[in-house]
């Protein structure tokens, strides 16, 4: 179980190997990578800057991860989130969930992402082709996805 915030990119296969090697009880690994899209409603994106709240970010990601591990049978999990200035095509976030069986791995990874998007203190600012910059608005659909988990029994 680990969380990491970094301005550096991550190597997916390296992270997966570090997390799951040596535990032969793991039968499935689900992995999600979030990336920077190159357009915003048809306008080209130049860059995306991610701000976060050092200290709270790590605490909140740790709470989300602990909750995921108690809800699902996860053998190991990892959240890596990048901060700073990113370009279209760059990786933003990596979530890995390892479990004895695929159902828990899939559900665990989805749960981690849904809660990360609504609880972890990160904010995106987009700089567009015309030089304008704007903070990204939170999406109601993300809140709905996290709320849906709270209405399902463990």
């Amino acid at each position: 179980m680990a969380v990491r915030v970094s301005s550096d990119d991550f190597d997916i296969s390296e992270e997966m190997a570090k997390l799951s090697s040596g535990d032969t009880g793991i039968g499935g690994v689900a992995l999600f990578v979030g990336k920077v899209r190159g357009d915003v409603k048809g306008q080209p994106l130049v860059s995306m800057t991610l701000e976060h709240y050092p200290g709270m970010t790590e605490a909140e990601l740790g709470r989300i991860e602990a909750e995921a591990c108690s809800r699902f049978k996860l053998s190991a999990s990892l959240i890596v989130h990048r901060v700073g200035e990113l370009k279209p095509g760059d990786n933003i976030v990596l979530v890995i969930a390892c479990a004895p069986h695929r159902q828990d791995a899939f559900a665990g990874a989805e749960y981690l992402m849904d809660y990360l998007k609504t609880r972890a203190p990160f904010w995106k600012k987009e700089t567009l082709g015309d030089g304008s910059a704007q903070w990204v608005d939170a999406r109601e659909s993300d809140e709905d996805a996290a709320t849906a988990w709270s209405q399902t029994t463990k």
């Binding site: 709240y53 203190p121 990160f122 904010w123 600012k125 903070w135």
Partner: protein
């Protein structure tokens, strides 16, 4: 008779567009004694001059954390060491 103590200082932190509008990222101050809840604090912030008025114009759009944990507007601010104000999060 209990001795009257000066109120303790708290760190206030601001993120994303709230930081930009308020024009400050961090400050330390003693809160007025009549601020009990997070809601009281949000209303007080909106009366701290033009920049804060603009930043805190829509308190319902602002999220608050006390000592690195999300709190509701009804939460008490007593004993807080650090209170943070920010828009709804947009990571991932």
């Amino acid at each position: 008779m209990t001795e009257r103590q000066s109120p303790p200082e708290v760190t206030l932190r601001y993120f994303a567009w709230l930081r930009e509008r308020a024009g400050v990222s961090e400050e330390r101050l003693a809160l007025p004694a009549d601020i009990v809840t997070v809601r009281d604090l949000l209303l007080w912030q909106a009366r701290r001059g033009q920049a804060f008025e603009q930043a805190f114009a829509k308190p319902e759009a602002i999220r608050v954390a006390i000592d690195h944990a999300h709190v509701k507007p009804t939460a008490a601010v007593a004993n807080a060491r650090e209170i943070a104000f920010f828009p709804p999060v947009t990571g991932g």
